[in-house]
């Protein structure tokens, strides 16, 4: 379709909507934002007549590549280290995708602009595409990769796992609470506009370096839809900015959305990229370098900062703090260490870092070896069953962390731990901003104004609470993380499948009691709690290089 006819066609389809007089569409999802004074802004023009064939063509390319990967036996050269992390990533990501589809009615309810409604409806079906194409990619991995265990329980694992839950809140954040907070600020302005760059661009390039060219094929196809979604979000933002009353809410939501996306997405994608790769060329970008390029320069400096001309206060402090956590405070490395500590309750395998990895990490993140080297050496020593327990239950100088009540990633930058009583419960938070999110932002009143549409943090947010005081073998068994012989664990702290003696079984983890840090915290006296918090913050959690197990 020519540009001229596309414009005419788009103008024509604007005639489809009308002002109802008999009854108005049900408003089921509230917002505290106001759009009465907003001029109508158009997102990118999209006509379904051209949209469907375009997407079909994209699909054909994807499926052609899948066919080629099987015929060319791509799995002969994929790195197992990489594929194992895909068991976690691909169990999580289809839910946020489908949640984005489900979020569209929230935005449609809230924003009185038929042109944006059209853009949002196209986004809705895009998201169904993304969710199902990703599930199908995982199905292919399950069928052709050497170890299907973990792929085979994928959505069950996602729903009952401590790491799956961190990802789940990302998707739930799109579909619940204030319609604009969820479906516009959190989903589109931050998650899609900023963090899909690392999710769908940076990570696929790492996949290719590890022999997996299907992930880039699928996710670049997904990413090519995102520009339209970003345009939807920007149009709604411009409409919201037309009303002064919305600024306070926008500033609140940008702080919440930025920080939560950083905590969750950087934790996950940073780990996949840094610890899932075998590519240790010194000139390949680290996650921090990718983040600086894709998020700091492309998003923060080119997209967020220009919004200041509209009088919007940008969370500069939180952007800088996120960078500081990633580069100086080793956020991603602490997360990876935590995932590896928790290996018995994973549904994927994590192998130890080697000397080659150490050298690369030290090159990219000076001081890395001093903080993490000895711990990974211990991880390697404790990789096989028989003489020792899983590393979490051996004394290697690593103190199991408390979970952040808001972002649900543990409070890993220990000096930033916040301990507060909220809703009659002692809770821990990874940072002041996560505390603020729970105690201040997600409340029915904000800075003296009523915010009746704002959502709430709910659920059993500390995963460990569900399993407090139970035997580790029973927990793993109930979670379903056991292979088809009924005893060998799906998770293993190494990649060696050749020797059955090296594979951990339920018997190897029986008799180990699992505890919940939050339950323990709530049972402490006032003085015990204060002493605990002080000790937690001051403990560098560094494994001594002399530790022998």
């Amino acid at each position: 379709m020519s540009r001229q006819s596309l414009s005419k066609a788009h103008e024509k389809i604007t005639e489809l909507s009308w002002e109802p007089t008999f009854a108005t569409p049900a408003t089921r999802f509230g917002t505290d934002y106001k759009f009465d004074k907003s001029p109508k802004k158009d997102p990118l023009k999209q006509i379904l007549r051209s949209y469907f064939p375009m997407e079909e063509e994209k699909d054909n390319r994807v499926f052609g590549a899948m066919d080629g990967a099987i015929r060319g036996n791509m799995f002969r050269q994929v790195q197992e280290r990489w594929m194992e992390w895909q068991k976690l990533f691909l169990s999580i990501i289809p839910f946020p995708e489908i949640s984005a589809a489900r979020a569209m009615p929230l935005a449609i309810d809230a924003v009185p602009n038929p042109q944006i409604h059209n853009g949002l409806a196209v986004q809705m079906i895009d998201e169904v595409r993304h969710s199902t194409i990703q599930m199908n990619l995982k199905r292919l991995y399950m069928n052709h990769y050497i170890d299907p265990a973990g792929f085979d329980i994928t959505e069950k694992g996602f729903a009952n796992n401590y790491a799956g839950t961190i990802g789940r809140q990302f998707g739930e954040g799109f579909i619940t609470g204030d319609a604009i907070t969820a479906a516009n600020v959190y989903l589109t302005l931050v998650a899609e506009t900023a963090f899909t760059n690392t999710l769908f661009v940076a990570m696929p390039s790492e996949a290719a370096a590890n022999g997996d060219y299907l992930l880039p094929t699928v996710f670049h196809s997904v990413q090519s839809d995102e520009s339209r979604h970003i345009s939807n979000g920007y149009s709604i933002l411009l409409m919201a900015l037309a009303d002064e009353d919305n600024r306070q809410l926008l500033e609140r939501d940008l702080r919440y959305a930025w920080w939560n996306n950083h905590c969750v997405v950087d934790a996950a994608i940073g780990t996949f990229i840094e610890y899932g790769t075998k590519d240790r060329r010194k000139d390949r970008d680290s996650y921090a370098e990718m983040w600086r390029r894709w998020i700091y320069d492309d998003y923060y400096r080119s997209y967020l900062m220009p919004l200041e001309k509209y009088g919007l206060v940008i969370p500069h402090d939180l952007v800088e703090e996120a960078w500081d956590r990633i580069y100086n405070k080793h956020y991603v490395h602490r997360v990876a260490q935590f995932f590896a500590t928790g290996w018995p309750v994973n549904y994927w395998r994590i192998d130890a870092m080697t000397d080659k990895d150490f050298e690369w990490f030290e090159h990219k993140y000076p001081g890395w070896y001093d903080q993490f080297g000895a711990w990974w050496e211990a991880y390697s020593r404790l990789a096989y069953p028989g003489k020792n327990k899983p590393i979490a239950f051996e004394n290697v100088g690593y103190e199991y962390p408390h979970r952040c009540w808001t972002c649900m990633v543990p409070a890993l930058i220990r000096e930033d731990l916040v301990v507060e009583k909220v809703d009659n419960q002692w809770r821990t938070y990874c940072s002041e901003t996560c505390y603020w999110t729970d105690a201040v932002a997600f409340r029915p009143e904000y800075q003296g104004r009523e915010t009746p549409s704002m959502g709430r943090l709910t659920g059993d947010r500390e995963w460990e609470t569900l399993h407090h005081g139970r035997d580790l073998a029973d927990i793993i068994s109930d979670l379903g993380y056991v292979r088809d012989d009924g005893k060998t664990l799906i998770p293993q702290p190494h990649l060696d499948l050749s020797d059955p003696k090296k594979l951990w079984t339920l018997d190897d983890v029986r008799g180990i009691e699992f505890g919940s840090p939050n339950v323990t915290l709530n049972n402490m006296t006032e003085s015990e709690r204060e002493a605990f918090a002080s000790s937690y913050r001051s403990n560098p959690n560094r494994t001594p290089s002399t530790a022998k197990v």
């Binding site: 009308w18 108005t24 049900a26 006509i47 929230l106 969710s131 052709h144 499948l497």
Partner: protein, 370 residues
């Protein structure tokens, strides 16, 4: 004297990742679960799961299945996630519903691309063949007014019934089916709008703006508009789908599309409009398949079937009069074309017969006309 030539700093040669043969392909080793190559957390309908089942089931988690920590965000005054009480209907197992169309990415794009290609070809051929030259002034006006007005009904239902409802059902299987229904509607509305644009450019006497006034103020169309607007105002997602696909569509949609347009267009020298309308009918037939499967399941639920049938019967009592009224108000347009090959009574009888057959499948009866 020439200025010294500035030398570019020496650049380190770019490095590339090195492919490595890892032998990480299926079957290279035997170990526990080395052959576990199917999703094992749900029971497929047949012996082996379809691609549709694999890519759809349990992607939307459920505390009644594997979800262990509950929903992590709530609305201000109600739980988050996908509460079952967003409809008054109940089910012993919401997950029993599988879309008979097995819609997922590939089916959605193949199906809709085929339709838009077919329509585009038809319109292109029509232009080249001068197909509109034989249309009578009466028929030109009929199409401008009435086919034009119908685009609004499709759009309103697509955007404010089905897009909205796909947020609300308790399972991914239901929500995806509803989502596909919504894009059918929106695509068909755009098909009609772009057809209208084509006709405006091809026929001098064609009033491409008339549809807006007809939809907004023609007395023949106000019953339809009222019905559509009231459908968009329903808060209960199942009621909205039921009142649209089970009541409005057979009594008004099919009546207008199949029992009027498809019957009379050819006799009025128009062989193009039926090809578009046929695409809409094809969409509806596809969407009716999932609708029939969903409400049959609920009507025959071992635990809640009887109560569900009572609710659905009350929905019929509420919505059938609205749609009958809309249909009857449309009656005068049956007299507008020069060639009248079918009467309103005949069309309405055909539509009502299909409607009665549909609701009989659910064990329901049509309310008596007042």
């Amino acid at each position: 004297m020439n200025a010294p030539v500035k030398q570019a700093p020496a650049k380190a040669p770019q490095s590339f990742p090195k492919p490595e043969f890892t032998g990480a392909e299926a079957g290279m080793q035997t170990f526990p679960s080395s052959t576990s190559r199917s999703y094992n957390y749900f029971k497929p309908q047949k012996m082996r799961a379809t691609v549709y089942e694999d890519v759809t089931i349990d992607v939307q988690p459920d505390p009644e299945r594997h979800l262990s920590q509950g929903w992590l965000y709530g609305f201000a005054k109600s739980p988050g996630g996908y509460p079952q009480d967003w409809t008054v209907l109940k089910s012993g197992n919401w997950h029993a519903f599988l879309d008979p169309n097995e819609e997922w990415e590939q089916t959605i794009y193949r199906n809709n691309s085929n339709i838009v290609r077919q329509i585009e070809l038809n319109l292109q051929n029509a232009k080249e063949a001068g197909a509109y030259a034989h249309w009578s002034p009466t028929w030109i006006r009929f199409v401008a007014d009435n086919v034009g007005a119908w685009m609004h009904a499709e759009h309103g239902l697509g955007m404010h019934v089905f897009v909205s409802a796909q947020r609300s059902a308790p399972t991914n299987m239901i929500n995806n089916a509803v989502c596909v229904n919504s894009v059918h509607r929106l695509r068909f509305a755009q098909d009609l709008a772009l057809y209208n644009l084509d006709l405006s450019e091809s026929i001098e006497a064609f009033d491409g703006k008339a549809h807006k006034d007809v939809w907004k103020s023609s007395p023949f169309w106000q019953g339809v508009r009222e019905n559509v607007e009231r459908l968009t105002a329903i808060g209960d997602w199942a009621e909205a789908i039921f009142a649209t696909n089970v009541v409005f569509e057979p009594l008004v949609g099919v009546l207008f599309r199949s029992d009027l347009l498809m019957q009379i267009a050819a006799r009025n020298g128009d062989y193009i409009t039926p090809t578009l309308i046929g695409a809409g009918e094809n969409d509806y037939n596809r969407d009716l398949r999932y609708t029939r499967a969903l409400f049959s399941l609920l009507a025959n639920d071992a635990e809640y079937g009887e109560a569900n049938r009572a609710v659905m019967q009350s929905w019929l009592d509420k919505w059938v009069p609205v749609s009958r009224h809309a249909a009857v108000e449309l009656q005068p347009i049956w007299s507008q074309p020069s060639e009248r090959t079918i009467t309103f009574a005949e069309s309405f009888a055909a539509a009502t017969a299909d409607f009665n057959t549909l609701i009989a499948d659910f064990g329901l009866t049509s309310p008596k006309e007042k």
